[in-house]
């Protein structure tokens, strides 16, 4: 089959992400489609890393090989900066005696996940106990970090209704720091208990920095992806979940602990969406009995059907030829849904009105 500029880029990306040898037979038009679509979805370095690991990089034609190695170099630099920033934050936390857990991208690095060094990282995420979060923020501010510019409404919004404080950045550095006290907004319909996360947390390779247990880490990723408001460019987050399942599946009792933790913490719904979507898009192997078990967490049938279609449309790699974004209606509904899940109506309405007013002001010509 001849690959052209009009070939199915998203499918080429999925195939190459899962098995880099599928790309080796592409003609140059096909390679361009792959590179462009991979860039659109921030997974070029991921595919490059897998291609190198498979020993296939020298089989890639010159121009795409150069592009892949270039992307890999950029991602490796970000990974280096992320670990460095984590070390800086940890120094401050250690001084004031506040225990911390690394989350998301920087946690994948500490776990030594094979794909961790190929992710495009824009911030590092850490968690401290809620009762000590002001102390943690003040310690970081005293050590030189600064709040990123947010208006007073955003500041209040973060502090009152969010699971993290407004992002901090050390002047002159690339990566900002998000300090969390739990994984879901405290007013949302999901209210897992942070104490359980702490109790199950494990030591990382970086002495003194903890990690969520594998099950909690996966649940965090699932909540983050399936209950968020922005569904653009989230294919890479789906790949993170895929990588976690691939890595954790071999651990003793992982699946049992995963389903138990989801049930105990009230996170069954995001777990269901994750385990339902992953095999459909990334052919992730999930044991049949686990799939059967998490069906108890699914929404009513009509919602289930609509969500399955919508999640598939949103989480497939975006096609760079399509600009602006497709699926406007579904996207808007998912945005509305995330807010519905995040806040009770008496908070939601004023919040959305304010955001709408702000975007109207921003869109009006100067």
């Amino acid at each position: 089959m001849t690959v052209t500029r009009d070939s199915n880029g998203p499918q080429i990306v999925i195939d190459a992400a899962l098995d880099p040898s599928t790309a080796i037979g592409l003609d140059l038009a096909g390679w361009e489609r792959l590179l462009s679509c991979a860039r659109r979805n921030a997974v070029l370095a991921y595919i490059a890393k897998r291609t190198v690991a498979a020993g296939l990089i020298d089989a890639v034609p010159d121009a795409p090989r150069a592009a892949m190695l270039s992307a890999l170099a950029s991602a490796a630099r970000l990974a280096q900066l992320a670990l460095w920033e984590l070390e800086r934050v940890h120094r401050v936390m250690r001084t004031v005696g506040i225990p911390m857990i690394a989350l998301k991208g920087v946690a994948y690095l500490l776990r030594g996940m094979p794909h961790a060094g190929s992710r495009i990282i824009s911030d590092i995420d850490v968690m401290v106990e809620h009762r000590r979060i002001d102390e943690a923020e003040n310690a970081l501010l005293a050590a030189g970090w600064r709040g990123t510019k947010l208006d007073p409404y955003d500041q209040r919004y973060y502090r009152k209704w969010s699971h993290e404080i407004p992002p901090l950045r050390f002047p002159g550095r690339v990566l900002s720091v998000d300090v969390h006290h739990t994984i879901c907004p405290p007013v949302s319909r999901l209210r897992p208990k942070p104490e359980a996360f702490w109790k199950n947390s494990i030591e990382s390779a970086h002495h003194g920095v903890g990690l969520l247990s594998p099950a909690d880490s996966f649940l965090h990723g699932a909540v983050h992806l399936f209950f968020d408001s922005d569904f653009d460019g989230r294919f890479r987050d789906l790949l993170d979940l895929h990588e976690m399942l691939t890595l954790f599946a071999s651990e003793d009792e992982f699946w049992t602990l995963l389903v138990e933790a989801a049930r105990a913490q009230g996170l069954g719904r995001p777990l269901y969406y994750a385990l339902d979507t992953l095999p459909r898009i990334l052919r992730t192997p999930v044991p049949v009995e686990v799939l059967r078990e998490v069906r108890q967490f699914r929404p009513p049938p009509q919602v289930d059907l609509w969500m399955a279609r919508t999640l598939h449309a949103m989480l497939m790699p975006a096609d760079p030829e399509v600009w602006p974004l497709a699926h406007g209606g579904r996207r808007w509904l998912m945005y509305a849904r995330s807010h519905w899940l995040r806040m009770p109506p008496y908070l939601l309405l004023p919040h959305l009105l304010r955001k709408a007013w702000r975007s109207v002001r921003a869109a009006s010509p100067e």
């Binding site: 462009s36 121009a63 630099r77 760079p320």
Partner: protein, 306 residues
């Protein structure tokens, strides 16, 4: 076939359908846009460049889209879209050309880490390249442009591209972006040179593009060893003076002004070291272009090949 060999409507027809693919070594850029005036400006500034098959591999695929929606009825804008992403806020429609140039530079800088990317203009004569690192108010583009109008070959106006493992610069020949007073200075200095329309009040002030000479585009695959690193300092009415700069200081200035020094790591260190070893470094103060040219020729004459 050259871009300039196509008719104006031919360029526009290509750009508004499958795109026009232009070879600007080391890359091929494909451009799509419905904007007729942009097609005309591309044809004028890129006239000497080769057109290649738009269905073949392009390193960078750009669309310059007219932004619709709420703003459309007030003041249309243009958006730079690469790989389905719009990394910048839209520009006023008439500034599509400078936005394309900046956007293409940005996209290139994001995907060329097989090279050390210095922020510099590079020109060459008799096989000897001079690198003009950029610093604020240095006038690197004006100085490089003026030399190119006097028969020097342009390698690049924005990037000193050093493939890792070497100490030569590869060309990335593009229109030279002249800013503010430089535009009138260059018009007076080289009345025959083609300078495109002035785009007023962009984020960098007024901008106009100087078309690279045919000599430069014809030799746009030939690299050149760096013979001298010259830090320009323009001060109106200042007499020309040249000072030598110690290698260690040159090293720090060059490394500090690279776009991707930290990304390429140790190999970037080696590349800068090789350049500093094989070249001489100078700071030049000048108030007029002819005086600066004479001083640069003297530098080339006085520095033996290493």
């Amino acid at each position: 076939m050259k871009v300039g060999a196509l008719s104006a409507s031919g360029v526009h027809a290509a750009m508004s359908s499958r795109g026009i693919a232009i070879a600007a070594p080391p890359i091929i850029v494909r451009l799509r846009s419905p904007l007729r005036f942009l097609a005309d400006q591309i044809r004028a500034l890129y006239g000497d460049y080769d057109v290649v098959d738009p269905e073949a591999f392009a390193d960078v695929d750009v669309r310059m889209c007219v932004v619709g929606g709420v703003r459309r009825w007030r003041r249309p804008k243009v958006q730079f879209v690469v790989d389905g992403v719009a990394p910048f806020d839209p520009f006023p429609l008439e500034n599509a050309m400078p936005m394309f140039e900046w956007g293409l530079n940005w996209a290139f800088s994001q995907r060329a880490n097989q090279n050390l990317l210095l922020h510099a203009s590079v020109v060459e004569r008799d096989g000897r390249a001079i690198l003009f690192p950029a610093w604020p108010g240095s006038g690197k583009s004006t100085l490089a442009g003026s030399l190119v109008c006097r028969g020097w070959r342009l390698l690049s106006d924005e990037f000193g591209i050093v493939p890792l493992g070497g100490a030569s610069v590869i060309p990335f020949v593009r229109p030279i972006a002249l800013k503010n007073e430089s535009i009138a200075v260059m018009r007076a200095f080289a009345p025959d040179a083609y300078i495109g329309p002035i785009f007023p009040a962009t984020r960098k002030g007024d901008v106009a593009h100087l078309r690279p000479t045919s000599l430069s585009t014809a030799r746009s695959r030939e690299s050149a060893p760096v013979h001298a690193v010259v830090f320009p300092n323009f001060q109106r009415d200042e007499p020309v003076s040249v000072q030598r700069l110690e290698p260690a200081k040159t090293f720090l200035k060059l490394a500090g002004n690279a776009f991707n020094y930290e990304v390429v790591g140790e190999r970037g260190f080696s590349a800068v070291a090789s350049i500093v070893r094989q070249s001489s470094s100078h700071i030049i103060h000048y108030g007029d272009l002819d005086g600066a040219h004479a001083a640069l020729e003297e530098i080339l004459r006085a520095t033996p090949d290493k």
